[in-house]
Symmetry: C2
Subunit: 320 residues, 2 copies
C-alpha cells in the first residue's frame, strides 16, 4: 500500500490505517521511518498518560474508568496496552485483553495491544512510535498501560507526560514495587483496591519513601485511593492528573520533558542505524563464526575479537 494513503488515513483518524501503521511499526517494516517522518509534523499535541504497576494491581480496570472520565469530557482517546509477554507463552493463553469492551464501539477511542516481538528494546521503541501515530491521528489523550516492575517497563513509560504508578495493599507489594525502581517515575501514586486491609499502611509507606527521597522535588506526587469496582476515587485520580499536567505546563517542565525525550529519540535512532549497519555485514558471516569458535577455544578473547570484527565493517554505510 502506498505510504501516502496510510499517512493520510492516520491524519484523518481512519482506524484501519492507524492499525496498519502500528502493524508496520511492530513488524519493522522498511517504510516505517518514512511514514513516521511524514506524520511527525502533526505530532506533539496529544497528552500522554502512562499507567504502570505490578501484575494484578488493577491497571486495566483503572484505564477503563479513566477512559469513561475522559470520554465524558468529550476528549478523544488512544490506548496502548503494552504486554511484555514472552512469545513462548503467548498473550492469548493466559486470559487477556478482551477488555475495555464498553469502549470498543466508540469511534473516538482507539485501543491497541502491543507485545514483545524480538527484543524489549524494540518494544519500547515500537510503543513510542505507536504513540506518535495516535498523536498524529488527532487523539487528545494517549494512555499507555504497562506492567511495571523492571527497567524495561520504565523505558516504555518514560514517553508519558504524567505517569501513574498503581500499588495495592496486598502483601508487601508496594515496597517491593518501589524497590524495583519505579518510584522516581511516579507523578501520581494510585493505591488501588483501597477497600482491602492494609491500604493505610501502603499510603504511609509511600509517604515515607517520598519524605526520604524527595525533599527537593518541586512536585510531590499525590497519593490517590481507588476502588475500581465502584469507581470510587477515580475522579480524584483524574483531578490529580490534571493538576500534574497544569504543573508541568506552568513550570516549563513539559517543554523540558519533551525536549529531553526528543534528545533520547534521536540517540535511539542513531544507535539503531549503526547497529543495523553492523549486523547486516556481520551476522551469519563465516568470519564471525570463526571468531566465535576461536574465543570458545580461548585462542582469542572477546575484547580483541570485537575490535578485529569492527575493523572489517564498513560503518559509513549507515550514513547513506
Amino acid at each position: 500500500m502506498a505510504d501516502q494513503r496510510i499517512v493520510d488515513g492516520v491524519l484523518s483518524g481512519d482506524r484501519r490505517m492507524m492499525a496498519r501503521a502500528i502493524s508496520m511499526i511492530e513488524n519493522e517494516d522498511k517504510d516505517k521511518h518514512r511514514i513516521l517522518s511524514a506524520l511527525f509534523p502533526h505530532t506533539g499535541k496529544a497528552y500522554v498518560i502512562g499507567i504502570t504497576g505490578a501484575p494484578g494491581a488493577g491497571k486495566s480496570s483503572l484505564v477503563d474508568r479513566l477512559l469513561s472520565i475522559l470520554r465524558s469530557r468529550g476528549l478523544t482517546v488512544g490506548v496502548i496496552a503494552v504486554d511484555p509477554t514472552s512469545p513462548f507463552t503467548g498473550g492469548a493463553i493466559l486470559g487477556d485483553r478482551i477488555r475495555m469492551q464498553e469502549h470498543a464501539l466508540d469511534k473516538d477511542v482507539f485501543i491497541r495491544s502491543m507485545g514483545t516481538r524480538g527484543s524489549l528494546g524494540g518494544l519500547s521503541r515500537a510503543t513510542k512510535d505507536a504513540i506518535q501515530v495516535l498523536d498524529a491521528s488527532g487523539k487528545d489523550v494517549v494512555v499507555v498501560e504497562t506492567v511495571g516492575v523492571g527497567q524495561s517497563e520504565v523505558d516504555i513509560i518514560k514517553y508519558a507526560d504524567t505517569t501513574l504508578v498503581v500499588l495495592t495493599p496486598a502483601g508487601g507489594d508496594s515496597v517491593q514495587t518501589i524497590k524495583a525502581g519505579i518510584m522516581e517515575i511516579a507523578d501520581v501514586f494510585v493505591v488501588n483496591k483501597a477497600d482491602l486491609p492494609g491500604a493505610d499502611r501502603t499510603v504511609a509507606e509511600i509517604n515515607i519513601m517520598l519524605d526520604l527521597g524527595g525533599a527537593t522535588r518541586p512536585w510531590r506526587p499525590p497519593i490517590v485511593r481507588t476502588v475500581t469496582i465502584d469507581g470510587s476515587g477515580t475522579d480524584e485520580m483524574y483531578a490529580a492528573i490534571l493538576r500534574h499536567s497544569e504543573y508541568l505546563k506552568e513550570s516549563g517542565n513539559l517543554e523540558r520533558l519533551r525536549k529531553e525525550r526528543t534528545r533520547r529519540d534521536v540517540v535511539d535512532l542513531i544507535e539503531y542505524r549503526i547497529k543495523s549497519t553492523v549486523w547486516e555485514q556481520v551476522h551469519g558471516s563465516p568470519e564471525f563464526d570463526d571468531v566465535v569458535a576461536r574465543i570458545v577455544s580461548r585462542e582469542t578473547d572477546p575484547y580483541s575479537a570485537a575490535l578485529q570484527i569492527l575493523r572489517q565493517v564498513n560503518l559509513d554505510r549507515c550514513k547513506e
Copy 2:
C-alpha cells in the same frame, strides 16, 4: 594499581583483588577490558547457576541453602546478587543484603552485590564481567541471583548454565511471573514456601504451562517444592540442578549455549564500542542541541536528524 597485580590476584583467588576487579567493572574503569582480556584464558570452568523470581519469593534464603549444600560437597562458590534497585531509593534504605552471614567468613565463598549504575544494559554487562572474574579466580560454581520480572532481568540471567525460577503459592504470583516472560528461561522451577496453601495449584499451573508450550522441548523443567525455613526440598533442588547440568553436557547443549553466549558477548562489545565512539563526539555538542531544538519546533523530524548527525561523526575512531 598495576593491572597485572589485579590479574595475578584474581587468578590466585585473592578476595581483595577480586573485589577490586569487580569495582573496576562497575565503575567502567578504562583498564577494565585489559584486565578482562588477561583473565579470559582462565575462564570457562565455573558452572553458573542463575536464580530468579518475583520480589519476596525467597530467593536469598534459597541461595543460602544452596551455598551450604555446595560447600558441604567441597565446592568453592562465588555469589553475585544483582539488585536493580533504583539509584533514587538506594538499596540500603529498604533493608538489604546483610545476609548469607554464616558464609561471610568462609574463604571459599565470595559474595558480591551489584546494583544499577547507569543503565540496566550496563548492569547486565557488568554482571557478565563479574562472573568472568569469579570464574577466573577458580570458583567451581558461580551463583547469580536477581529479581526476575522484566526483560532486563532475563538479560542478566541468560549468562547462567542452569536457571532456577522461583515461584510461591501467594496470590496469582506464579501465573503473573510466568506471564512476564521468564517461563522459557527456567531449567528448574522451584515452588518455594511450599508449606503455604495453594502450593498444589501453583505446581499444577506450571505443569499446564509446560504442557501448553513445551511439547517438543527435550528438557522438561522439573518442579521442586521447597521450604527454606527447615530446608526441606533443597536437596531435591540441588539434585535437579545436577540432572540439568548432566543433560546439558551429554546433549552437547552446554557447548552450544556457551557458544551462543560468546556470540552475544562479541555483539555487545561491538555495539558498546560504537556507542561510546558516537557519544564522545555528539553528546553536549552545540550541533546536537540545535538539532533537538529544531525537532521540537517541528522544523525537522527525528529520522532525518539522526541521519544528519551520523554524517558528521567519525565512526572509524571505534576501530582504534
